[in-house]
Symmetry: C2
């Protein structure tokens, strides 16, 4: 069997993703589609609109054969760490290619990444460690070497995949295959008329609690019914921000400074901003807190680390312990796993053991507990996201 | 001038307290009444029904001349630490006597405490450090020496004052004067018919949001109007418990174990109880969490330390740094301060400086921020309880 890998968030899964799945098989000839998917939180540092189980169900119904969870330690990170984690998991799962959408599919991402790396290695100005500015530095170099910058989000991710493939020594093992993205860009908030909508536009509809019929053109029927239920967790401006404020008010500055990425004065800035007016709402807070030095996503991720009380030490440990958490599979996916699992080097997790909760799964477990706690319905509050769960197995014709 | 000291919570101030003030002056002949009062939280580990400023106003209107805040590190503690902190502050403030209500005012508390101490010192079984069981050990010894136990709460507090007086070497400086408590016991929930109600009964009325007229028989007119506004902060079963749950879900067990008094497996028990059912309400949680080993007050205090993220190290430091925080004074009180303040050895705080917030006042500041944050009205949420405040000065005829 031959597998093609996809790096996904599916927040939520829509027709554009279904097209991606179909194309991935078409361009590679693979018989199995393996997706690495962000868990309960997405890369820009907010809870996903639905938990990882519901998003897995839709992905399997939409054509994916196996869904592995991208652990929190990689999923909620800047692009280079996100990409490296995802590529490492897909490689270990034995995929022979990774297919990704790009705004400029004609680019040779591997060659670009290779050129940028060589230029970087020759230049003392650029640090090759995993600092926050790594991706930016790469892009600066790229501009210098090939004369242009990547400005579109999917092109930039493609570049990050290519860099990860090179750094992990996978260039001979995994083929990177960009495909042209069709229609709706990531940030589009309008719905198009040819059955492809951006996830952003769909999330707006979900937040408006639109009826299922309004989703029907852009997602599958089961997805439309789920989406019509509204988002699963409270909005950041409500419960999550309350928790952040409580956390900051009760935590001394030197303890706040142990939080991952709450560095370079950010802990102090956060505490000062919150303390200045504890009646301020989230938007007012953000207006004061944001700065030109950091992107909105970087700040939002940092706030999420703070709410989840993730220290630098915890994150460093978690980043050293990737694993393959299987969230679901089709019959084809199960056959693939049966054939391939012997060759996996990372731990394969079907069912969570008690020791995992304080060990390898600690961050994901904690993040899942908060997702659950801040869910909007009593039923979702009562449903643990890690313990007592088995993968989603669907039968598909 | 001569001062008499009172150890108080005034939660809230009522006619029984006014009687206590009058009697204190009558039996001692003192011209100035100095009260040490718990701040925003009371001894059994819950927020006071009104913040320390409002309670100070009522105390001054009710006959007290100076109110000093009993710092959190002493106020929210078992009786022996509570008593020791209060006696130390009153002694430093120069009072020559302490008058307290007791169920058995005929007892010679100093003599009882002295006998118990001597017996304790001679016995290896009893540890004389400040462990949780100190008060119990004293009472056990008392039973052995004098043939009876103190079972009434105010008798027990009196015994704790006497022990503190002896331990602090104040027996020659401060006279302990018990007075017979009249009517309503601490735990009475019924209102009596002679203008004395227990604070417990009044709090029930406050929670029911009774009109001012219903309070008028038991408190002063300004107090009745305040009490009719309802409690100032959210009930524990609401916001406070939400914060506790959030804190426990996001804190690893080894970090929880650094919280003051969350020892001997209590951290584990707390985490397990919360995690077992995160939809449980506060009462359901408490039913599972409570045990015969600990009193309800001890557990409630421990939950409060957890919500406030007070580590053992922070508490030990704070207990070594008592101070005289002046919350308010009458003209008589101000005259007394002018005469006596030169002899105070503890820091006298009128107005909080920025450095105090991360230093000597750290715990009280943090506790005040949470009290404010969990206040019920927007106005109270917006009013800092430590910064930008000056003592309450009232003119009294």
């Amino acid at each position: 069997m031959e597998a093609v890998g996809l790096v996904t968030e599916y927040n939520p899964f829509h027709n554009g993703h279904a097209y991606h799945v179909t194309q991935a098989k078409a361009v590679t000839g693979a018989d199995t589609v393996v997706a690495v998917m962000s868990g309960n939180y997405v890369q820009r540092g907010v809870p996903a609109v639905f938990d990882k189980w519901r998003r897995t169900e839709l992905a399997l119904a939409g054509g994916v054969d196996i869904v592995f969870e991208l652990p929190f330690a990689f999923a909620v990170q800047p692009a280079h760490i996100f990409a490296r984690g995802a590529v490492q998991l897909l490689a270990d799962a034995g995929v022979s290619s990774i297919v990704f959408g790009a705004e400029h599919a004609e680019l040779d991402f591997l060659a670009l990444a290779q050129q940028a790396r060589e230029r970087l290695a020759a230049d003392d100005h650029f640090s090759a460690d995993y600092s926050q500015t790594y991706a930016t530095a790469f892009n600066d170099v790229l501009a210098e070497v090939v004369g242009f910058r990547l400005t579109n989000p999917n092109d930039m991710l493609g570049f990050a995949y290519a860099t990860a493939v090179i750094e992990l020594g996978l260039a001979d093992q995994i083929r990177l295959q960009p495909i042209q993205r069709i229609k709706a860009g990531y940030h589009d908030t309008t719905l198009s008329d040819d059955h492809i909508a951006s996830a952003t536009a769909l999330r707006e509809l979900i937040n408006q609690e639109a009826p299922a019929a309004e989703f029907a053109d852009y997602v599958s029927q089961p997805a439309a019914e789920l989406l019509a239920q509204g988002t699963q967790t409270a909005d950041w401006s409500e419960t999550w921000y309350d928790a952040l404020r409580y956390k900051v008010l009760t935590t001394p500055i030197d303890e706040l400074e142990t939080i991952y990425q709450l560095t370079d004065g950010l802990a102090y800035r956060l505490k000062e901003t919150i303390e200045r007016d504890i009646t301020a709402d989230y938007e007012t807070f953000m207006t004061t807190f944001k700065s030109k030095r950091y992107t909105q996503a970087r700040l939002q991720r940092t706030l999420l680390y703070t709410v989840l009380n993730i220290t630098d030490a915890e994150m460093q440990t978690a980043m050293q312990q990737p694993y393959l958490r299987m969230l679901g599979a089709t019959p084809v996916g199960r056959r693939y796993l049966k054939q391939q699992r012997e060759s996996f080097t990372l731990p394969l997790i079907h069912k969570v053991e008690k020791d995992d909760l304080t060990g390898i799964l600690m961050l994901d477990y904690r993040a899942g507990r908060l997702y659950q706690q801040f869910s909007r319905t009593r039923q979702d509050k009562a449903s643990p996201l890690d313990t007592g769960r088995i993968p989603v197995f669907i039968e598909r014709g």
